[in-house]
Each structure stands twice: as C-alpha cells, then as structure tokens.
Symmetry: C2
Subunit: 118 residues, 2 copies
DNA sequence: CAGTATCCCTGATGATACTG
DNA sequence: CAGTATCATCAGGGATACTG
C-alpha cells in the first residue's frame, strides 16, 4: 500500500469509504447509473424490483448529499427528476471491481473447503 | 470492467463480497492481522480499545467461518489461541486500498463543496 | 486465557397511506 | 410523477456476568 496510514487510520479510512456505499439499495442504484446513465425516479423504481418509494428516495438523498449522485429537477408539471452519477461516483467503479475480484477468488484460494455459506 | 456480469449480478457480487467485511470490528481486526501478523486473542483485545470479548470472539468466528482468518488452538493450560489471515484474507488488501483511494478522492473530485459530514 | 450466556437498545429497513 | 409521513419489525451491537 502506497499510503502513509497507520493501521488505525487505514481501518478508519476504509470504514468511512464503506459508509458511502452501505445501505440496502445503494449498490443496486449505483450499478444502474454506472456508465453515465441518466434515469428518472420512476425508471429506477421500475428497474429495482422490491424497492419502496421511501427507500429509493432515502438512498438517493444520501448519495446526493455524499456527492456520489447528481439530482436534476425539471420544473415541469408533472414533476420530472433525473439522477446520474457525479465524477466521484463513477470513480467508485475500480474499487467495486477489486471487491468483486476478491470475492470471486474465494473458492479458488481457500485451502480447504470451509463451511459453505451464501 | 473486464467481467461478463450484468448490472444485477455485479451488484449482488459486490454485496456478497461486502458481507464478508461488514461488522463493527472486522476491518480493525483485519488491519491488525495484515502483513502476516499472528496475534493471540488477548493481543487483539488489547490492541483494539473498546471491543468486548463477545464482539471480538463473534467477529473472529465469522471471519474464520468465511475463510478469511485461521484460528490456531494450542492445547495448553492456560489456553492459547493464535489468529492470522488466510491467503484469501490477505488478498483483500488491494481492494481495501482501492476503497481508501476512492474515499480520499472525495474532496479532490467533488465539483462543489457539498454538505460536510463525518 | 479465551471464551459463553443474557438482557437490552437503537438504527436500518419494510409496509402502508397520503400529497404538491 | 415524485415524493413524505407513520408505524411496526428485527438484527447488530453494547453491557454485564459467568466458566472450562
């Protein structure tokens, strides 16, 4: 690791990074917006089965506040609101990819087949 | 991303990877074991202020079950138990580093200074 | 030393209903 | 359409006490 972190600050740093993507629906939303997609509230609602309006709204607000998502309100009737990722939001991609890769190594790298779990 | 995942399976893949490191103390424990360190239960207890025996034990058990941590029991009196990372546990390092890097980019990349939050 | 066993409490999420 | 408001639920975690 090319950083000058101590164990403690590194752990804290990762923890605070994780806070941005923790939340039952954040990753699903993220993956729908990756690639520069611009989606309306109702698009996301339809794209994500099982999510409630409350949760969709709540997670989007947090992500907006955190600076991952941009919210664009069109002052029309009926209302229209677009969502897309910020530059920083897009920048999450490599990190998630690294996580994906790590997870995929589990079967490969585990010396002995441990307990199976979902 | 060099993978052949759909949005949905990618989100699920990352979610399941995240489950392995979710837990109030997992990352702190991880960072104490990175670098091949071998620590006893009491070492970790002392190294991690604020953790209770219940939590330390619980998190270690999960990590062991998940295949990230190896638990070595020495059949002595009094008992002695060593903990270290498995190969797969060590392999988490690059992913956490990517997360750290992403988090660190927040101030740099955010167009406008958004709401400040811990 | 290295844990278990209990009890409690809070925050995150879900279900449902209502609105500018 | 794009939300907000309320209420109910539940798992994760904390505090404390006990044990092979």
């Amino acid at each position: 690791m090319p950083h000058s972190y101590t164990r403690e600050t590194a752990a804290e740093g990762v923890e605070s990074a994780l806070k941005f993507i923790e939340g039952r629906w954040k990753l699903v939303i993220l993956f729908h917006l990756f690639g520069g997609h611009v989606l309306r509230f109702s698009d996301l609602e339809r794209a994500i089965p099982g999510i409630s309006q409350k949760m969709l709204s709540q997670q989007l607000r947090q992500m907006e506040k955190d600076g991952m998502v941009r919210r664009i309100v069109h002052p029309t009737v009926p209302p229209k609101v677009d969502y897309c990722l910020t530059e920083w939001g897009q920048a999450l991609c490599p990190a998630l990819d690294a996580l994906l890769t790590w997870g995929a190594q589990r079967e490969t790298m585990s010396a002995a087949a441990q307990t199976e779990k979902a």
